[in-house]
Each structure stands twice: as structure tokens, then as C-alpha cells.
């Protein structure tokens, strides 16, 4: 027994116009200062005004939103009493919007108490629209919420099925403004979702197709979107691919690359995704990894699972090179010395082991394995254990 959850997805050029037709009286937009500066907030407000909604803006969401920020946004919601929550931005803004919405509906909860096991009883006060401005996290189609506990220095990877947005507006208009580095990092994040959603032990018939299609689109269109931000077709396809990958992985589960990536993000503030290393690790475990399916779908050599995994790793590294992404943690953290990295290894391993996604890996990770994965990924070494 399992579930497939999805928002209503409005996609393509002018999808934003759907906002003109929603019914309600008051919206509260959760976003960040960059969205305000770029004028995106005013565009969305104008659409909401056409629908007759007053709109209050909370634009204080920082990258990797903290529990404190979530509490402040929820307090504003309790004061303003919106019947629509509008998340506008990248994954941070959308995740923060979901968490604030939960606390608005359930002020008895603390943000660190959000979990996927409780029945929350949402939608008594408001519904949620998610409008992504990056093409990566897929937060618009998921119930995942990633927050940062700044006191403990760890990411809280949580969420609740009920906080799947009611509407996801996947309009490429905002994504077209992303700078190349953000385009690359978010696109590789989406690829991690697609591959892990397909290879996790929770994979299922309903998520498989979404993950395969998303992976294929990312390999085809990410290099184009990165090389030429004005390539409208590539921008739109990447925006759709990110939403598909989000829908795919949230209905199966992400796995070790996410657990490692969330941990790295909390400790060193780098985008997550350590995909080639976890694929190599899984492939050496002797159990099927389903990588050959993905490789075949991408028309890569895949006579068996081993060759499929090797082909997929090679293709991902080629893609990373094309978008000038770091191939190792060391490259991603040029200002962190090897000694500084080693000093934080215990924390990195502890964080990764507390991340729920680690249990869905095709191959079990011992604490020692997790530590060595970090060490090898830091050096950029092929996994040989």
C-alpha cells in the first residue's frame, strides 16, 4: 500500500495567469528579497489583485531557511489571516512557505515538530500556491520541507504529505532570469531527484516514469539552458523537468546522495547532490540498482547493471563538466582545507545518519561506509568499496 500525491499543476507560458482566477480574499506571499528586487513580487501581486485578493508579502526568507524565520512568517500569517499562502522563489522560499502554513494552521506545533506521521488537519484556514523561480528543487510538487536548525548546525529534512501545495504554477517566465551558476546547480539537484527517485528502495510504478522522463529532459536541456539563458525552449523544459523530478522522488523517496547532500549543505552551505559516488557505491553492493534502466532510457551502454551504473556515472560527470560544476567536494569548497573538512567529518556523518532518506538507499550504508563516502567524494576518488 502506498500513495501518489500531486498538486494541480499549471504549466507553460502564461501559466501565471491562473492566479487571476483563484477564489479568495487575502493572500500572504512568502518569498525573499531578491524576488522583490527583481520585480517578481509585484508581478504576482498584480495577478492576485485581478482575482480580487489583497496580498501581504513576507520577503525575509534566507537561503536554507531557519526555524526562527519560519516562526516569524507563521506569526505574520496568524496576524493577517490569509486564505491563500503563495510561495514564490526557489526551494528555500517554497519550503519555508509550507512550514509557515503548517504553523499557521497548527499554532500548537513548533517547526521542529513537523513530521510526515502526524495528521495535521490543514486547509481549515488556507490553501497554498507554489510558484518556483528556479528549476531544481521541485518543491512546488512535493511535501518535502528542508529547514536549518542553526543552533545544531543541521538540516531538518522533513515535511508532511498534507502540505503538498494545492496548485503549482510552473511558468518559465521567472526561471529565464536565473544566472548560469544557479541554473547549473539547481538543474543538477533535479537530476539527483530523478535518479534517486528511480533507484530508491521505495520506487514504484507511479513514480518511475516521471523520474525517467525528468532525467532524460535534464540531460538534453540543462547544457543548453546553462550555455544560453535566453534559450526559451531549454528553460521551459528544465522548469518542467524539475517539477516532474520533484513529483517523482516525493512519491518514492530520495536516498543516500540526498542524505549526504543535506548534511554537506548544513555544515558547509553547498548545493546538494553527490550522485556519482552513491551510484558507484550502490553498484558495488551486489544487489540490483536499476541504474541500467536509466542508462538504457538515455541510450547509454547498459548490457547489465554494472555497465549501466558505470555509463550513468560517466554521463553525469560529462554533464557536470558541461555546466562547469564541481566534480568533488574539494572543488565545491575551495576555501575549506582538508584538515578543516576532516574536522567536520563526524558532524557530517551524524547529520547524514539522521536524515530519513538514508534508509531508502539500494545498498545499506554503515557508519563507516558513510564516512568513507564523504572522504572519497571530497577527494573526487572513484568508489572502490
Amino acid at each position: 500500500m502506498w500513495y501518489f500525491r500531486s498538486p494541480e499543476i499549471v504549466f507553460g507560458e502564461d501559466a501565471l495567469d491562473h492566479l487571476c482566477h483563484i477564489e479568495g480574499t487575502r493572500a500572504l506571499m512568502v518569498t525573499d528579497e531578491v524576488m522583490s528586487r527583481l520585480g517578481f513580487v509585484e508581478i504576482v501581486k498584480a495577478k492576485l489583485a485581478e482575482a480580487g485578493l489583497e496580498c501581504t508579502v513576507f520577503d525575509q526568507v534566507e537561503p536554507e531557511p531557519s526555524l526562527q524565520t519560519v516562526r516569524r512568517g507563521a506569526a505574520l500569517m496568524l496576524e493577517q489571516k490569509p486564505d491563500w499562502i503563495v510561495g514564490l522563489g526557489g526551494g528555500s522560499a517554497l519550503d519555508a512557505a509550507k512550514a509557515m502554513w503548517i504553523l499557521y494552521e497548527r499554532p500548537d506545533l513548533a517547526p521542529e515538530e513537523i513530521n510526515p506521521l502526524d495528521d495535521l488537519g490543514l486547509r481549515q484556514k488556507a490553501r497554498m500556491v507554489a510558484i518556483p523561480t528556479t528549476s531544481g528543487t521541485g518543491s512546488e510538487t512535493t511535501w518535502a520541507v528542508v529547514l536549518t536548525d542553526t543552533e545544531e548546525g543541521r538540516k531538518i529534512s522533513t515535511g508532511a504529505p498534507e502540505c503538498t501545495p494545492d496548485i503549482a504554477i510552473v511558468d518559465p517566465v521567472f526561471a529565464a532570469q536565473m544566472p548560469p551558476r544557479l541554473t547549473a546547480d539547481t538543474g543538477l539537484d533535479a537530476l539527483t531527484h530523478a535518479v534517486e527517485g528511480y533507484t530508491s528502495t521505495w520506487h514504484n510504478d507511479f513514480s518511475d516514469g516521471l523520474c525517467l522522463k525528468a532525467a532524460q529532459m535534464i540531460f538534453s536541456y540543462l547544457p543548453r539552458a546553462y550555455a544560453n539563458g535566453d534559450d526559451a525552449e531549454a528553460r521551459e523544459k528544465m522548469h518542467n523537468a524539475a517539477a516532474l523530478a520533484g513529483l517523482g522522488f516525493i512519491n518514492s523517496l530520495a536516498a543516500a546522495a540526498h542524505a549526504l547532500g543535506h548534511s554537506l549543505g548544513a555544515v558547509f552551505h553547498v548545493p546538494h547532490g553527490r550522485l556519482p559516488y552513491t551510484i558507484q557505491f550502490n553498484a558495488r553492493g551486489g544487489q540490483p540498482t536499476r541504474c541500467a534502466d536509466i542508462a538504457r532510457f538515455l541510450s547509454l551502454p547498459a548490457a547489465d547493471d554494472q555497465q549501466g551504473a558505470a555509463s550513468l556515472v560517466s554521463a553525469i560527470r560529462d554533464l557536470e563538466r558541461k555546466v562547469e560544476g564541481p566534480l568533488s567536494i574539494r572543488e565545491a569548497l575551495p576555501d575549506v582545507t582538508p584538515d578543516e573538512f576532516a574536522a567536520r567529518l563526524d558532524k557530517l556523518v551524524d547529520n547524514a545518519e539522521m536524515d530519513a532518506t538514508i534508509v531508502a538507499s539500494a545498498r545499506d550504508l554503515s557508519t563507516y561506509d558513510t564516512r568513507r563516502l564523504f572522504e572519497y567524494a571530497y577527494e573526487g576518488k572513484d568508489i572502490d568499496f
Binding site: E113, P116, L117, P161, A356, S366
Partner: protein
């Protein structure tokens, strides 16, 4: 030589489970910061007229105490997980991931769910310890 199986949810079974937990280096590592005790409850069904409560006190990667009772008032544990015997069988035979069981409410949990979510790896290692107890589910 075939291994003698222990009847599930008996004192002999929980004592063997307790020993397996304390022998497991993987569990000790995964649960090194865990503090919390449990009732694992076998719910009544056609063959089981009344619930069985399996108490286990898990602390920093070890089981400090474990016993069977039919009287739930003997302890007031932080967590209670309940399911019929067939669901426990699915968990122990690795056909049902414990987290998935909780999310689909096949396993009913009472207690701090957010705390459980930070310990899913420990939960999986705990389940692995049960697989090392030769178990007869014919209750």
C-alpha cells in the same frame, strides 16, 4: 541442524531480541544518541484474544530492559507502536519498511513522531536485530 524457533511476543522471544540488540554494533552506532522506551503492542485479532505488550528500554545504543506483559500499566513508555501480528511479521521479515508502515498507519505510533523521524536508521537497525531471532508467528 535446524534452529529452534521462538514463539513471537513471548518472554523467550523478547529476551533473545534484547540480546541481539546488545550484540549489534550497527545498532549501537545508529542509536548512540537515542533515549526512549517503547511498548511494541501486538493487537488482538481472531487468534489473539487480548493485546500483548513487549516493553523495551532503549538507551544510547543498548537495550537496558525488555519483557512481556499483559498489563500496560506496569510501565509508561515514551512510545507505543501497535499492530496486529501479521503486520509485525511483515516488518520482521523485511516486507514492510518500518517508516513506510508508520506513514501508511499499518503501524500505529503514539509518542513524539518528530523524534522518531530523526532515528529512522536506528529503527531499521533495530528491525534487523529482530531478523536474527528465529521466529515462529503461529500465535
Amino acid at each position: 541442524m535446524s534452529e529452534e524457533k521462538l514463539l513471537f511476543a513471548t518472554q523467550a522471544w523478547i529476551e533473545q531480541f534484547h540480546q541481539e540488540v546488545n550484540k549489534s554494533a550497527a545498532y549501537r552506532q545508529a542509536a548512540k544518541t537515542w533515549e526512549g522506551d517503547f511498548y511494541f503492542v501486538v493487537e488482538p485479532d481472531g487468534l489473539l484474544p487480548e493485546p500483548i505488550y513487549m516493553y523495551m528500554d532503549l538507551w544510547h545504543g543498548e537495550s537496558r530492559d525488555a519483557f512481556i506483559t499483559k498489563d500496560p500499566t506496569v510501565r509508561d513508555p515514551e512510545f507505543v507502536i501497535s499492530a496486529p501480528v501479521n503486520t509485525w511479521k511483515d516488518v520482521i521479515e523485511l516486507r514492510l519498511d518500518p517508516l513506510k508502515g508508520l506513514m501508511t498507519k499499518k503501524l500505529k505510533l503514539r509518542g513524539n513522531m518528530a523524534k522518531i523521524m530523526r532515528a529512522v536508521k536506528a529503527a531499521n537497525e533495530l528491525v534487523r536485530c529482530t531478523t536474527r531471532v528465529p521466529t515462529d508467528f503461529q500465535m
